[in-house]
Amino acid sequence: MPDGALPVLDVKDLKTVFKTRGGEVHAVNDVSFSLKPGELLGVVGESGSGKSVTMMSLIGLLPSPPAEVRNGTVMFDGDDLLNVDAARMRDIRGGDIGFVFQDPMTSLNPVFTVGMQIAEPLRKHMGMNKKAARARAVELLELVGIPDAERRLDDYPHQFSGGMRQRVMIAIALACDPKVLIADEPTTALDVTIQAQILELMKELRTKLGMAVIWITHDLGVIAGIADRVIVMYGGQIVEHAPVADLFADPQHPYTQALLTTIPSVSGERSKRLTIIEGQPPILGAAPTLCPFRDRCNKRVEICERMMPQRYPVSGQHDAACFHADPGIPKEKAVGHAG
């Protein structure tokens, strides 16, 4: 993908808060990122890190109340998605922005045939008639590798296996030639051999259709195999952002570093003992004023108790929200307290 291309999606300072009876939960805090045409952006983080909520906020899929997008702009195709009216949003969702959810069983409607579910966006967004929509649906099912597509069109979701259902979900998301595809943990519910099939399919479709993809996952292995750039989220914030090779070769944020050492691998050296990250993820009860990882960080320094780190550039497209990456702080001083 060309480096200089204008972003197809540009998110700035997004902030989402849930109002609950127990008080506010600050799920997404000042998240900014952009997506270039044709690029695959990986979003990694553990549960509760705000990765799904961020993407749901973009396309207005969070129920409000309790959710409230407090701040930010989401520029897509000349519109700020946070300020468009409901009708325009409906046009964009499932039209220019497609999405694939984690669990293909609960996100397909069990009482309609998959043919009807694929045809629905085609008729709504593209104004196709029944016959044209059906023909296109067959094409789409073939595209995602479902054998005997013509006949399978009249089957119901329960007649498909998990991997096949996820293929149907992808077919629906691709129906209207989206510019952006948001995939929220699309392979988490699948077995590894089926996951490998879906990953291959996604790589192939991306080159064929040239759309930009946001791929949310908690699996760093999946990210390593598929993404161009990666953002790492923790406690509702982006803590590191880098091209995929840089992230694995030279992680800057202590959380990313720790995360990479906690996961064992099927090849390579087997460590005698797993490295652990002590403690628990933060509870996001208030707007953060300090680094969310500081309580679990083994490189905490004095300044971490006073100020919130910014996202400091490390190199070209690589930045990290950690004082250790801040060029303004002398390295010896920062490393001096490391424990």
Binding site: A196, E200, H218, F248, A249, S267
Partner: protein, 353 residues
């Protein structure tokens, strides 16, 4: 850990079968059966961790539960610590429970939300020992220390704990009766990666301290590589390969194991340049397994014999068992394991990535 030369089996399973009936129609007639576990044999040596891996629906959890006789098994022999429990009735089985315990997958669902943690951990002591209340309370606190839970939280309810802490409660409960053998059924599947490592390290520490023997059921091949001494790979109710950890991961022999290992996404891009075997199709239904080898519908190197004859499990190298027509002691004794005609064939047929 295990000195494998003079290890003796603590658990011996022979030809274990667990079939669940399918009833249908107005009269709920028995129309078939789901062969969840269909003739599985393995030993778990004293002090070792046997990893049991496979994809969902392959019967690994059913196998783990059947070994502890949480089901009335269809056929087979299970001997734990020298006692045959395969056909033992449930009331006699009860007195054997203290030696064998289980840690369940979902710590949310396996803890009673209305019981404080203290009572949850104490329950096995109430059932199986004659200790006084104060002795039991003391034992509970010791167990909480052992699994790294703060004693102060003894009177709290499960909802007040995080996922990793809840799994620690489940482990404490399993340890209460000083068991020898613990079946861990996907104990880390519901946890985040940073918490998974904490629980796995705890299980390893406890094993070392208490001399425990684990059957560790998981679909996470990289975690099994970390924790297991030997690994059994299940597919559609059968064990297709059983081998010491290093040997299995270095050179998988069964075509399914090869595909399974190559499908695991590699988080280290430097190591990710391997060829990938992508299987086509899905796992057949265990109520209607294919004739011949169970894997013949997806196997990249399938031959005619695979569709008619069921391969027997053979010991192809000392300690390595494989159920495949084409993996024999002769094919695996070559100095360079990748030089065999068979593995070349497999690599060519697998899709490259």
């Amino acid at each position: 850990m295990l000195d494998d030369t003079n290890a003796k089996p603590l658990v011996s399973v022979r030809d274990l079968k667990m079939h669940f009936p399918i009833h249908a129609g107005l009269l709920r007639r028995r129309v078939g059966e789901v062969k969840a576990v269909d003739g599985v044999s393995f030993d778990v040596m004293e002090g070792e961790t046997l990893g049991l891996v496979g994809e969902s629906g392959c019967g690994k959890s059913t196998c783990g539960r059947a070994v502890l006789r949480l089901y009335d098994i269809t056929a087979g022999e299970i001997s734990i610590d020298g006692v045959e429990i395969g056909q033992m009735d449930q009331s006699r089985l009860r007195s054997k429970r203290p030696t064998m315990q289980m840690v369940f997958q979902d710590p949310q669902a396996s803890l009673n939300p209305r019981m404080p943690v203290r009572d949850i951990i104490q329950e096995p002591l109430d059932e199986h020992t004659n200790l006084s209340l104060s002795e039991k309370r003391e034992k509970v606190l010791e167990l909480m220390d052992a699994v790294g839970l703060n004693r102060k939280f003894a009177t709290r309810f499960p909802h007040a704990f995080s996922g990793g802490q809840r799994q620690r409660i489940g482990i404490a409960r399993a340890l209460a009766l000083n068991p020898k053998f613990i079946v861990c059924d996907e104990p880390i599947a519901a946890l985040d990666v940073s918490i998974q490592a904490q629980v796995v390290n705890l299980l390893e520490d406890l094993q070392e301290k208490l001399g425990l023997t684990y059957l560790f059921i998981s679909h996470d091949l990289s975690m099994v590589r970390h924790i297991a001494t030997r690994v059994a790979v299940m597919y559609l109710g059968r064990i297709v390969e059983l081998a010491p950890r290093e040997a299995l991961y270095a050179e998988p022999l069964h075509p399914y194991t090869k595909a399974l290992l190559s499908a695991v996404p590699e988080p280290n891009p430097a190591l990710a340049q391997k060829q990938r075997v992508v299987l086509t199709g899905d796992v057949p239904s265990p109520s209607n397994p294919p004739k011949g080898c169970n894997f013949c519908t997806r196997c990249p190197v399938v031959q005619d014999i695979c569709r008619t004859d069921d391969p027997e499990t053979r010991e192809v190298q000392p300690g390595r068992f494989v159920a495949c027509h084409f993996v024999t002691p002769e094919t695996t004794t070559t100095a360079d394991p990748t030089a065999g005609p068979r593995s070349q064939e497999l690599n060519q047929q697998g899709e490259e990535t």
